[in-house]
Symmetry: D2
Subunit: 368 residues, 4 copies
Amino acid sequence: MGSSTGQIFCITTFGESHGGGLGVVIDGCPPGLPLDLEAVQAELDRRRPGQSDLTSARKEADRVELLSGIFEGRTLGSPIAMLVRNTDADPRAYASFKDLYRPSHADYSTEARYGLRTWMGGGRASARETLGRVAAGAVARQVLTSLTDIEIVAWVDRVADLSAQVDAETVNRAAVDAHPTRCPDPAAAAAMDACIRAARKDGDSVGGVVRAVARGVPAGLGDPVFDKLEADLAGAMLSLPAAKGFESGSGYAGTFMRGSAHNDPFIPGPTPGSVRTATNHSGGIQGGISNGMPITLSVAFKPVATLFQPQQTVDVKGQPAILRAKGRHDPCVLPRAVPLVEAMMALVLCDHLLRLRALRGDAALTHR
Amino acid sequence: MGSSTGQIFCITTFGESHGGGLGVVIDGCPPGLPLDLEAVQAELDRRRPGQSDLTSARKEADRVELLSGIFEGRTLGSPIAMLVRNTDADPRAYASFKDLYRPSHADYSTEARYGLRTWMGGGRASARETLGRVAAGAVARQVLTSLTDIEIVAWVDRVADLSAQVDAETVNRAAVDAHPTRCPDPAAAAAMDACIRAARKDGDSVGGVVRAVARGVPAGLGDPVFDKLEADLAGAMLSLPAAKGFESGSGYAGTFMRGSAHNDPFIPGPTPGSVRTATNHSGGIQGGISNGMPITLSVAFKPVATLFQPQQTVDVKGQPAILRAKGRHDPCVLPRAVPLVEAMMALVLCDHLLRLRALRGDAALTHR
Amino acid sequence: MGSSTGQIFCITTFGESHGGGLGVVIDGCPPGLPLDLEAVQAELDRRRPGQSDLTSARKEADRVELLSGIFEGRTLGSPIAMLVRNTDADPRAYASFKDLYRPSHADYSTEARYGLRTWMGGGRASARETLGRVAAGAVARQVLTSLTDIEIVAWVDRVADLSAQVDAETVNRAAVDAHPTRCPDPAAAAAMDACIRAARKDGDSVGGVVRAVARGVPAGLGDPVFDKLEADLAGAMLSLPAAKGFESGSGYAGTFMRGSAHNDPFIPGPTPGSVRTATNHSGGIQGGISNGMPITLSVAFKPVATLFQPQQTVDVKGQPAILRAKGRHDPCVLPRAVPLVEAMMALVLCDHLLRLRALRGDAALTHR
Amino acid sequence: MGSSTGQIFCITTFGESHGGGLGVVIDGCPPGLPLDLEAVQAELDRRRPGQSDLTSARKEADRVELLSGIFEGRTLGSPIAMLVRNTDADPRAYASFKDLYRPSHADYSTEARYGLRTWMGGGRASARETLGRVAAGAVARQVLTSLTDIEIVAWVDRVADLSAQVDAETVNRAAVDAHPTRCPDPAAAAAMDACIRAARKDGDSVGGVVRAVARGVPAGLGDPVFDKLEADLAGAMLSLPAAKGFESGSGYAGTFMRGSAHNDPFIPGPTPGSVRTATNHSGGIQGGISNGMPITLSVAFKPVATLFQPQQTVDVKGQPAILRAKGRHDPCVLPRAVPLVEAMMALVLCDHLLRLRALRGDAALTHR
């Protein structure tokens, strides 16, 4: 059950870092949509390792194969299955810690839950698991584009204590992708770059914060009380590997404000009868429902658990041991987390958009 | 669909601030459990307004009535329905802003979604909606107690910029409930009390942070990838009124650390073959699965949206207007949020415990 | 989990024959619908015992109380909860077989599943459980009427070996309700009446078949492959007490035909470009999707398990015993099953109609 | 949403008769189970066309590829994805009726729902869709075998008006597979064989009934009220292509009996304190919950819609036309439906067995 998400635009991912491959089945995609498979591949390419010398040096092709759900270039309304093959990873890299629990990895908890685990790589906890999500997110984005003007942009907003200055109203993907850090503030990006390299040099790792915005979201998305838009976004983001925190709108910073400063006054919007807010501390969501203002959120990612320093741990028999990791790993997950955050945001918004259609039968939400 | 949560221990809440009543239906509660209805009422009493002069002066009895699912004091395995009647609220308190959108409330977004809203109180966005959750959470807690040693404690950890010093390993409910602020650090509690009174005097409001811990949680809870324990906890917490942020374990603070400091070394546990971690930055969850260490989290609550200062807004026709609120409202939601956070935590853990039984048929997880 | 059904128009029923009451929570009802509570009560009155001397002589008021989800007469889009109180049933009627398993009742299997059961009446297996379904079905019907021209009629088509002649294209509720048997063929109704009285005189019971038709169903309802319209209708009908069989369209009779006789030729419909079929062996569903022709189905109901003859059984210790039932029971469930079949049909069609709106955003399926 | 079924042992199928392939993702399979992939392949071979001259002459390899969820031969508890490639079907066979709606096929209703359809074969309505179900059913069977003594056997019980005499208590797979008709009554099998050949000679088709039994089912399976065991079995069976009817236990025949003859008396079972019934008209299910007796059911399959006689129809513009089918098709779906019925039965029982573990944490239901 845990590998599916979404009520109407429902996705199920599968696959581990070993074995035949990874992928996703999308059930509930509206029919008749021209599917741009190149755009799906482009998103997979954005999350792929080896894009720059900041990230892991592994080279994986990660070419997506479409298995079903499309005819003559259009969605049929039947399940869209997509597959990415595993390249033959070298399990010898993992053999030396087959019997050790890597600190702050999922090795121990996985074995506690399932009674066994695959020691050849991280199994289902591997970052490769996100391939299916990114592919599905790219399809969700195309659904959103066909029905609305929604535009989603995520970026690296902080690495360790290095914060960027970014305007959520205007930031775009070109600016984000201009630097390998995926931070659109050039000065901050340069500092982050140095920080990440320093950590790598020390065999260490760093964490940080991704921020994201969705502009052009219609008012009315979100299904109180348990599927409030913030609740579903929070759940989606915390399902990402290494995510440890979530903020909607003003988040934790807002808790330092008084209500008189935090409340967003309503003001007349640009068209007659329309409404907007003067500020957007609410992050585009009030009472768990979108209000038409940009949706803003942040996700905290912990420093990568894989280090190249000796670490204290225990073996599978509970005896003390020292772990010495090998191989090539990202010292900072943030740049590659950007497409993941965007994918999860697209999935949640797409599902809620279709749920709104069920509720309202909304003529405004049909293919254009 | 949005009023249900949980895969196996599945709850559905109903009710608005007006109308016949509010309540919950619990489907999937294990049979044969002696149900302590007084304990359910006690939790409802903890969330009730009017408990101290720090909270709203409204007086509501909020007596719970059991409608089904129990026979001779034991759960039948059939749906447990519980009802709390609305007292006859005075709609005149709301009449003056029937046609105005209250800033940072759900009025506008609700109307955008549903095309109508109840102006007599907050409707489904009212804090009264949480009655059903608290009642269900109290039942979940009894299930947890019958199957495990899980102990859940939440407390007010920060109000505005006033932070408490609390030891998550030892804090207990008696310490939390000792002060009306529900902050177990007496010095901080006194400061918070003054801060809340000052805000009220100004017709203003303040926000803050609730922290919570679950001790004695078995390893193995959480269903990757979308129902990771952190994902479900985050979703549950962000479904609470006024919640704007969530942290698991080290959360945002952890993103300032390097991996070598953040990783939790495994060490031998107290019994032969058992395992624990030397630190607990992971907050008891690794790879989305509990590892047996205390589960720690925080939830950010924004300052209450209802103020007693004139506020800029628009009316339902989009014309500028000034809102002047009346009535009695809490200037700070934090003390009353404590039982809500505990209830949501109990619901998520209970559901995942039963999911683990389905997966493993675990003899260790039967009634004791 | 088993007390909920429907993906979008999702209902959860609760309640046993003892205890505070029975009812239903409807989540996902479209907002803005004027709700006719009298029409809901009228459906409950149709299923009530004591309507004629053919059915049980018990008198229950079964007045429905609306708890939530409505404001100023219209649906809010939030959960609609409805409650029917239990009258104080006399448990002494059941005391004599507290320790016996009634043959072909749910006593034994319930105890096998849950480890306990309520011996004061049938608990969740009581016919009273259907109250919530009928109330929800009446709301579903109002949604269907607001969005489409769908008309649902069920009738008693056979009792024991007495079959009626009924034209599914024209039969209406007035004809069905004209006779206490709910058989619209007067000659057959008279024979059925005598048959049921004869069984009752013998302390025995009889079974039979309810047929139903839904006319005016738009083409396109049904979600292959597991939620084909026939699959959901079959599941809904077999969830009714005493149901043991289901047919869609030609059903079992169709299996005696060759394909050349069974296939339904397509012919031009009444309006240009429209399509219908010359025959309707498919019962309005092809490939699990409605094709615009009337949907026809049948449900087999076994003879009532409660008899007034001594019956062989065992007690809760497995020792042989003789059961001698007392009280007043229906010798034939068929007349009262008619509103149940209609309610389940309305619930399935309503859910699929809203699912179609999610898929297509269909402007034709908005309130009229 | 419609391509998934099961609450805990949840499967999602994908694939059409054209395109890259068909398959299934199983989420929720218990971990640590040795998976016999050859047994999965053997079930796929049983449903494959071209097994005898009674069925379609198409030759498809239908080799299953395991993509995920297994490590060193054991289930990991993560999603098990399996893929069967499409061989390059010749779309020219379909080109001649690209613009015609084939009578009693899904062409018209599919287009009504989705606005488009794949004319190269039946798309999602093709019998090839069942590949994923059969593969998943074979895994479900292995779970059942590892946890219980459940044994599932289905057989062809009737073709047209030719009925078999089969003892549900003893019939086994060897007897079923001994004849290409999959009827274990040799005399009836020979007659059915002749009947099917006669229909084929006439370019026509025949229908019939499959019966099935599950022996060794523990008492307690089934989740009232909407997920009663009969409800889920009925839904599962009616989701199969060409299915038009379902019976549990005595089914329609039972409606001709009086209650005194139909009720199943309880008698002491073979071991002290155990209980069984003297007759089994209930088909092993009472109140929607298994009672430990054999579960018996039947499924009606209509005559195959594809004929080799000219048929009246309309084209996509609604104009009258004559359809002349080509190619090779089964004149009777019954023999190949046997493994499908078994697969669906295994899926339903497996899901309910795991649901029972969640409810009871049953130590008796752990791997042996």
